[in-house]
Structures are given as structure tokens and as C-alpha cells.
């Protein structure tokens, strides 16, 4: 429950403060969001599997965001940024769906 409250407070802080994201960072935001969602659903799934670990949660979140942003950055430098963005979104998207399917099985037995 507390982490959910933390999540909501975080969203509120982000929306209220509305910091100016520098323009060069903006292309990485959507990727970072997908990576963050992946980390969240991974954490929930691990909790339901009974193997949640806070350190792994932190590390997977940060590394997901950094690696995804790095791949997109490399892609931009190589001139295939949009394709690699698509690739990252597909991979993380598939993982999110699979994790959500597993969570669904845990919660609803269906």
C-alpha cells in the first residue's frame, strides 16, 4: 500500500512541479516511461510470485531506463533512432503484457 501511495505522491510531484525537461532529453521520456512501467509490472509480478526484492526492483528500474535511453541515443547517432525506439517499445511492451498476464493469473486464477 505504501509504495502505491509513494507512486501517487510521485505523480503529483511531477505534475505540480512541472520541471522544464531540456529539449535534448525529451525524446527519451516516452522510452523511460515504458521502461518504468516494465519495472513496476515486474515488481508486482515478483511480489505475487513471492520473490520480490527491493534492490532488484531499483536496479531493474534504473538499468531499464538507462539502457533504453542509451539504445535510443545510439540509434539517433546512427540515424536509426525511430527504428530502435520501436524495437525498445516492442521488447518492453511484450514483457509488460506477459507480466500483466501472469499477474492476472495470480489474482483472478484465469
Amino acid at each position: 500500500m505504501i509504495p502505491i501511495i509513494g507512486l501517487v505522491i510521485g505523480i503529483a510531484i511531477g505534475v505540480v512541479l512541472n520541471p522544464d525537461v531540456p529539449l535534448w532529453l525529451q525524446p527519451y521520456l516516452p522510452i523511460a516511461v515504458i521502461a518504468a512501467l516494465d519495472a513496476i509490472f515486474g515488481g508486482i509480478r515478483a511480489t505475487l510470485d513471492g520473490i520480490f526484492n527491493d534492490k532488484v526492483f531499483v536496479v531493474s528500474f534504473i538499468s531499464n531506463v538507462i539502457v533504453a535511453a542509451f539504445i535510443v541515443f545510439i540509434g539517433d547517432q546512427l540515424g536509426v533512432g525511430s527504428q530502435l525506439t520501436t524495437g525498445v517499445v516492442v521488447v518492453l511492451g511484450v514483457r509488460i503484457f506477459a507480466n500483466v498476464a501472469s499477474i492476472r493469473r495470480h489474482l483472478f486464477k484465469a
Binding site: L7, G10, I13, P19, V21, I51, F52, N53, F57, A98
Partner: protein, 311 residues
């Protein structure tokens, strides 16, 4: 869905799977959970601790805060970016409309002034006795192209051959030959043939032909009165429709059109019309030439030559 850690003993491993060559896809679909969760749990179990840690540790809460902040910032940053564009767009549209209104107002002013000028000319001609009657003045204006005229006439339409219509991929270098394109020369020949056939007034795509008119090429566009035209090119002439049609068809013009359509596929049509209205020429006037005043010397001889050079 396999929730095992997926580390298989290489010596006693299961039989080769049919999809062994697709390990990337398999890993993606069958083990979506980060394997490090399992590894960490195994590690904790080996130390005698419960496999799962609590969500209520500071690390987890701070990360949750961070994730939430990231979502919030993204929502604020990425959504207004599209909304930001619309006021700018609206402003540009506003500017375009303002300029268009200004241009329209200017055009209306030009027309008002032109009609004022012709009224003054009329009264001057009536009063000062320049030797020009109102009728003569009308004729002059009609021939010079400074007034709108209407009447029966002939409409000749030329259009590029079908093959050159938007060369499929939009690439001008795809080897489609330009033979089927209507050239300025074609329009010149048609216009001259129509004058020769007895046309009294003529306009191409709404551009009145006057003694100042040039039909010429600029790149691939045909310019008439220095305005670029887009196909189809509609040459409207006023004159005795039947006589025009006969004279044009029998003369060089008709033969030329036939050659164009049979050799290059240019689409042409010649139709008579009962009622045509040709616009007045947008700008006509002499900057350097000054007419001789009646008192100064002999009045200028009025010569009406309908056969203007159209090139």
C-alpha cells in the same frame, strides 16, 4: 508460462526444442520476469531468510516515488507539446487570413479606381471633344482589355497527356518523357491561330490577353501576364462562335491541335459557348508613353489592330 529460473543443466538438459534457434523470442515470451528476482530470492533463501523482501523498505518507496515523478513529468512534458503547436498554427492561419483580406481590399480598391478612371475618361471624352466618342472609347477599352467583356465564343482546352499526370511516385526523374506536356509554344500558336480566326478578346485561365501579355515558360510552368498557370489550359475567346470554330478548325490551329493530340497524347477540346465572360486585365497602362494633347498637335490616330502578337 514458465516461472522457473530457466537455468537448465547442460549435461542432463531436456531434448532439443524445436524452437531452439529462436532463443531471443523464447526468452522474451517465456521468462518476462527479470531473472535477477529469482537469483536474489535464491540467494536470500540460501542465507536462511524469506525469499521476498518487503515493499516497505526505503529503497522501494523512493523508487516508487521516482517512477511516479517520471510518469508525472512525462505526462506534463509530452502532452502540452502538441497543444503548444496549435496556438502557433492558429496565429499563422490568422496572419494568412489578414493578408488575404488586405490583398482582397487592395484588389477591390484597384477595381474601384479603374472604374473611376473609365468614368472620368468617359466624361472627358464627352466634354473636351477629343474626337473620341463614347462608343469609340468603349471599343478601345474592349480591344485593350481594360474592361470585362462577355459574349458568345469559342473555348479551346489543352491538357497535359495522361502519362505526365503526377508521375506515380512524384519523382520528376523517373524517365517519363516530357513530350506530353503542354508548352508555352503550343499556347502561343493556339492563341495566334485564334486571333487569326477572328477572335475579338481572349483569356487563358482567366488571364486576359492584352498587347502587354507574354505567354512564356518559367521552368515547367507556363506564365501568362507573369502569372503561373496550372493545367488544364482553357483558352476562352469571344467572337462569332460558328465562324471562329470553322476558321480555327480549318486553319493552322486545328491542324496543330490534331498533331498535338495524335503525336503527344495532349488532350485537347474545342467547344463553342453561348455566353463567356472574360475578366479585365489586371494591370495595363503606359509608364513612359504620353499621348499628344489635341491642342499640341494632331490627335493620335486610332488604329485598332486585333491581331496582337501573343508571344
Amino acid at each position: 508460462m514458465a516461472t522457473t529460473d530457466g537455468t537448465e543443466d547442460p549435461t542432463t538438459g531436456p531434448a532439443r526444442r524445436p524452437d531452439e534457434s529462436m532463443t531471443l523470442l523464447t526468452a522474451l515470451l517465456e521468462r518476462p520476469l527479470d531473472p535477477s528476482y529469482q537469483a536474489a530470492a535464491d540467494h536470500r533463501v540460501s542465507k536462511g531468510l524469506p525469499p521476498a523482501t518487503s515493499w516497505r523498505t526505503p529503497t522501494a518507496i523512493i523508487t516508487a516515488l521516482l517512477v511516479g515523478a517520471l510518469l508525472g513529468v512525462s505526462a506534463r512534458t509530452l502532452v502540452p507539446r502538441q497543444q503548444l503547436a496549435s496556438p502557433v498554427k492558429a496565429e499563422i492561419i490568422q496572419q494568412i487570413q489578414t493578408r488575404q483580406q488586405e490583398a482582397d481590399a487592395g484588389e477591390a480598391q484597384v477595381q474601384a479606381l479603374q472604374s473611376e478612371v473609365s468614368n472620368l475618361e468617359q466624361s472627358a471624352a464627352a466634354g473636351a471633344g477629343t474626337g473620341l466618342s463614347a462608343e469609340q472609347l468603349d471599343t478601345l477599352r474592349r480591344v485593350a482589355g481594360t474592361v470585362e467583356v462577355s459574349g458568345p465564343g469559342l473555348v479551346v482546352t489543352l491538357d497535359d497527356a495522361r502519362a505526365t499526370d503526377g508521375s506515380a511516385d512524384g519523382n520528376p526523374r523517373t524517365g517519363v518523357s516530357d513530350d506530353g506536356r503542354v508548352m508555352s509554344k503550343d499556347l502561343q500558336i493556339v492563341a495566334n491561330a485564334l486571333w487569326a480566326a477572328g477572335a475579338e478578346s481572349m483569356a487563358i485561365n482567366g488571364q486576359r490577353l492584352t498587347s502587354h501579355t507574354a505567354i512564356r515558360f518559367a521552368g515547367e510552368a507556363i506564365l501568362v501576364n507573369f502569372r503561373p498557370l496550372v493545367p488544364p489550359y482553357v483558352v476562352e475567346t469571344i467572337g462569332d462562335a460558328k465562324a471562329l470554330e470553322l476558321a480555327f478548325g480549318a486553319g493552322t490551329g486545328g491542324a496543330y491541335l490534331k498533331t498535338l493530340s495524335s503525336n503527344f497524347g495532349i488532350r485537347t477540346s474545342v467547344e463553342t459557348a453561348d455566353h463567356l465572360t472574360l475578366p479585365a486585365a489586371a494591370q495595363i497602362g503606359s509608364r513612359e508613353a504620353t499621348p499628344l494633347r489635341p491642342g499640341e498637335s494632331t490627335p493620335p490616330t486610332v488604329r485598332v489592330t486585333p491581331k496582337e502578337s501573343a508571344s
